[in-house]
């Protein structure tokens, strides 16, 4: 089955997310759709999958124009999608999830669970997955959940399969396995559209590459292109992907974590005997696949995690047992991984966001009142210093781009008297320009003699930014290694095999 998108245009208000986009997916071919965050890749696929209605252009299957008014139509036409955020219901079983939407039934609409289970087993067997159809999805590891998502996409005999940023949550090994599955599907004659911004993956599997920038197709790339060539095409200017930094000159180890363990609300152990230390003027990167305890580790450090045991010391003072405010007051700067959820109040102005953590003290507070005059002066100063592109300090945070939002968070967190800087996935979802800015700020913070802890899920960022790398797996630190450790070794460590 051949799929063609012709002149697709999609607008949101004044913003053009897709501008006259053309794309052809042929059977037995992996077609990569490459672009920066916000380039319009996901919008395009949502149009194709019937989730959005295009404002212009048409979709053709085997050269015949089709019209999708919803995902049901797209599925019926043989299009399946593996979503970036899994479309799985955590409290349902695998079989229930997979059959949802086209349930096998007996008389009177009664579910035929046996048939659903059989179908899951059949498809699993074909790809060598070992999945129990009666397992509750929410209790499965993320990698397995993705396989459920793939089974779900395949079960309707899909001939075109869309993978939307599928590797974000996978270990390098799981990523390799996914690539193998994609190749297997290609051999079987499936047309695959693979959406990603990871150049390495593109180079590995792509038969064809279409590059999208600011909603427009900027051209097709040769699958043999180098990473820098692809990146330049994606960003629209020459890019140097390396982080510029001088070798570290570490001082005293002022931040120490010893025997740290933590438990989740349900009582599961999420951190298991964590030990490490960071020196002044050094960046330690915590590498690992998302969901292996990194979030809990940063939460434990800033005092947000309820059940912890062990010791976290900054300048000889114990942080465990202190609340968030007390920890921040000891000089900890913290950039959370989800800036819109945890870092900013979207409805607040830039100025208000800048005083979020210190509204109760001088000079921001004057008695019980807010010191509006000082706040204005402070905000204007930070706006300049951090090059936040906004109409003014009264702009709402929600109106800013992701990069500018992150600059506001950095401006706030770096404007305290710091003794430790912690940033969790500080460049997630940012454009290349902002990524460069954030990296510069982090390196500058290190160079001012502060211990820095960065959580990174992408190996490239980990190796480029870190002076040392600690790899986490299932709540444990597998090992702490120098940043020039080979990728393959790091990849193995991320799967729990110690170096």
């Amino acid at each position: 089955m051949k799929l063609e998108l012709r002149g697709i245009t999609k607008r949101f208000g004044a913003m053009v997310a897709n501008d006259n986009v053309n794309l052809v997916a042929q059977p037995g071919e992996i077609h990569c759709l490459l672009g920066e965050n916000g380039a319009g890749k996901s919008t395009l696929m949502n149009v194709l999958y019937g989730l959005y209605q295009a404002d212009g252009g048409e979709i053709l299957i085997d050269d015949k124009v089709v019209k999708f008014s919803g995902p049901g139509d797209a599925m019926a036409a043989g299009i399946g999608m593996v979503h970036q955020h899994f479309m799985l219901i955590p409290v349902f079983t695998v079989a229930e999830n997979v059959m949802l939407g086209h349930e096998p039934t007996k008389f009177g609409g009664i579910l035929d669970m046996a048939a659903a289970r059989a179908k899951v087993r059949e498809v699993s067997a074909k790809f060598g997955f070992e999945i129990d159809p009666d397992a509750i999805v929410g209790e499965l590891p993320v990698g397995v959940q993705q396989r459920v998502e793939i089974i779900k996409a395949l079960i309707g005999n899909a001939e075109v399969l869309i993978f939307d940023e599928p590797t974000a949550v996978l270990t390098p090994q799981e990523t390799d396995e996914l690539m193998a599955i994609m190749k297997q599907l290609r051999e079987a004659g499936t047309a695959i559209v693979f959406i990603t911004h990871k150049l390495r993956e593109v180079q590995e599997v792509a038969d064809k590459i279409t590059v999208l920038r600011l909603g427009k197709v900027v051209g097709e790339a040769d699958p043999k292109s180098t990473a820098n060539e692809l990146a330049s095409m994606m960003v629209g200017r020459a890019v140097d992907l390396d982080v510029e930094k001088a070798p570290a000159t570490p001082g005293k180890p002022t931040f120490k974590v010893e025997g740290l363990s933590a438990w989740s609300h349900s009582g599961a152990k999420v951190l298991d005997d964590i030990n490490f230390e960071i020196h002044e003027g050094e960046i330690l990167v915590i590498a690992g696949v998302q969901g292996n305890g990194q979030t809990e580790l940063t939460e434990a450090i800033i005092g947000m995690h309820g059940k912890t045991a062990g010791s976290i010391q900054l300048d000889g003072r114990e942080l465990i047992g202190k609340n968030v405010k007390q920890v921040l007051d000891l000089g900890v700067g913290f950039v959370p991984e989800d800036r819109t959820e945890d870092g900013l109040v979207a409805e607040f102005t830039i100025a208000e966001n800048l005083m979020l953590d210190r509204s109760d003290r001088k000079p921001f507070a004057k008695g019980l009142n807010i010191n509006l005059a000082y706040l204005k002066k402070f905000a204007l100063e930070k706006l300049n210093q951090f090059d936040v592109r906004a109409q003014g300090i009264e702009s709402k945070a929600a109106q800013l781009s992701g990069g500018n939002q992150q600059k506001v968070v950095l401006a706030r967190e770096l404007s305290r008297e710091l003794r430790l800087f912690v940033a969790s996935q500080p460049t997630r979802g940012l454009d290349v320009g902002s990524i460069e800015f954030v990296h510069e700020q982090i390196v500058a913070t290190r160079d001012s003699g502060i211990p820095v802890l960065i959580v990174a899920t992408e190996l490239d960022e980990a190796t480029q930014l870190g002076d040392r790398i600690a790899v986490m797996y299932k709540g444990k630190i597998v090992g702490i290694v120098p940043s020039n450790t080979p990728r393959a070794t790091l990849g193995q460590m991320m799967a729990g095999i110690s170096a």
């Binding site: 921040l328 959820e341 979020l356």
Partner: protein, 384 residues
């Protein structure tokens, strides 16, 4: 929830006015339908349509005219005093509604859906009532003490909800609904025991509060308006200051918009929940004092009237903005006051106010619906 709050605070006053008009129109239709004259003239509508329209006009205009005369200015009254009495009635009704509405506004702005105004008013009235009835002190100590007790009573009952949410994560909507019923039943029980029941009384009713604990009836005894109206103004200014100028209010709003970010920024969420609900309940407690130390002066099961619900609608109509709440409170006070005259003069049941009131909230909550009714074009700004 977040989105809704935005809807309420981000919409325009214009749409609010349209919503009120639309609701009054629907109310007018109901009034007309229920009028016997309209019904009888409708039977020969084709023969003599003028009769029908005359009857229609009479019933609807008559009703709203009576409402105007009951709520704002009675131009048919004998003397000046009687002419201006309606506006004082409106203010008297508006006082507890606005106070309690302010309390809910504080909670809404902080992201907490407090529908427990009824229970908090009752607790305020019970505490203030007990001090007002049984304590013997000179007025300059007794009155402030009674008001303070009421504020404390409502505040503690509210803070209990905040405490439950902070410690157990209990949903405040469910808890406040349940607490309303518990408060009513507790009041019912206490009014049957010597703790609050008047000696020798058969009905659930308390002795009257002492004069030394009452609000001042500054216009004289023939008016129901009392000093609570000044407390209301103070409460409006306080709430405005709290939400817009104080650092505490800043933390309240941060919690309301994004509790996660507030938490990461070191704001003590649990304590803030308790403070928000405490202050919210305290303002409803103040409304309770206005009832027991002002309008009612004895404690009965009806002490909270329907003010708990009115407060919700007022807070929503005023878009949780203190001055907006005041305007909305005056409007609903006027509806209440006018409805009494409307029933007396035109035989239109006061229940029409409930209908109009709930329609106003529904319309306000759904701007697209109001726009569709009035065919208002969507401006660019709203669309983006």
């Amino acid at each position: 929830m977040k989105r809704v709050m935005k809807e309420f605070t981000g919409g325009s006053a214009f749409l609010s006015i349209l919503a009120v008009i639309a609701s009054l129109v629907v109310g007018g239709i109901l009034i007309a339908l229920s009028s016997p004259e309209v019904q009888s003239t409708a039977t020969y509508l084709t023969a003599r349509p003028s009769d029908f329209f005359q009857a229609l006009w009479n019933s609807v205009f008559g009703a709203y005219d009576a409402m105007f005369r009951g709520a704002i200015f009675n131009y048919k009254a004998q003397d000046t005093l009687q002419m201006i009495k309606p506006i004082t009635e409106t203010l008297a009704y508006a006082t507890p509604i606005t106070m309690s509405g302010l309390g809910l506004a504080v909670a809404f702005r902080s992201g907490l859906f407090n529908i427990g105004a009824t229970g908090q008013i009752i607790f305020g009235a019970m505490f203030a009532g007990w001090v007002g009835i049984y304590v013997d002190l000179p007025w300059y100590v007794h009155f402030p003490l009674a008001v303070l007790a009421g504020v404390l009573g409502g505040g503690l009952f509210g803070a209990l909800v905040g405490f439950l949410k902070a410690t157990t994560g209990a949903n405040e909507v469910i808890v406040t609904i349940m607490f309303n019923y518990i408060a009513v039943l507790l009041l019912g029980y206490l009014l049957k025991t010597p703790i609050l029941q008047a000696p020798g009384a058969v009905n659930p009713i308390s002795p009257p509060v002492k004069d030394s604990a009452k609000y001042v009836f500054f216009l004289g005894d023939q008016f129901r308006l009392h000093g609570g109206v000044f407390a209301m103004i103070i409460a409006v200014v306080f709430t405005w200051w709290l939400l817009n100028r104080s650092t505490l209010g800043f933390r309240f709003r941060a919690l309301g918009h994004n509790p996660n970010a507030a938490k990461v920024a070191g704001i003590n969420i649990g304590l803030t929940y308790i403070l928000v609900m405490g202050i919210s309940g305290a303002l409803s407690g103040l409304a309770g004092t206005s009832q027991i130390l002002g309008s009612e002066q004895v404690l009965t099961l009806g002490v909270a009237a329907s003010y708990g619900f009115d407060a919700i609608t007022v807070a929503l109509l005023g878009r949780s903005n203190p001055w907006g709440v005041l305007v909305a409170g005056l409007l609903f006070g006027g509806l209440r006051a006018g409805a009494v005259t409307m029933q007396a003069n035109q035989g239109v049941p006061v229940d029409i106010v409930l209908v109009v009131q709930s329609l106003i909230v529904l319309f306000i909550a759904a701007p697209p619906l109001v726009r569709a009714i009035f065919r208002v074009k969507v401006s660019k700004e709203v669309a983006a």
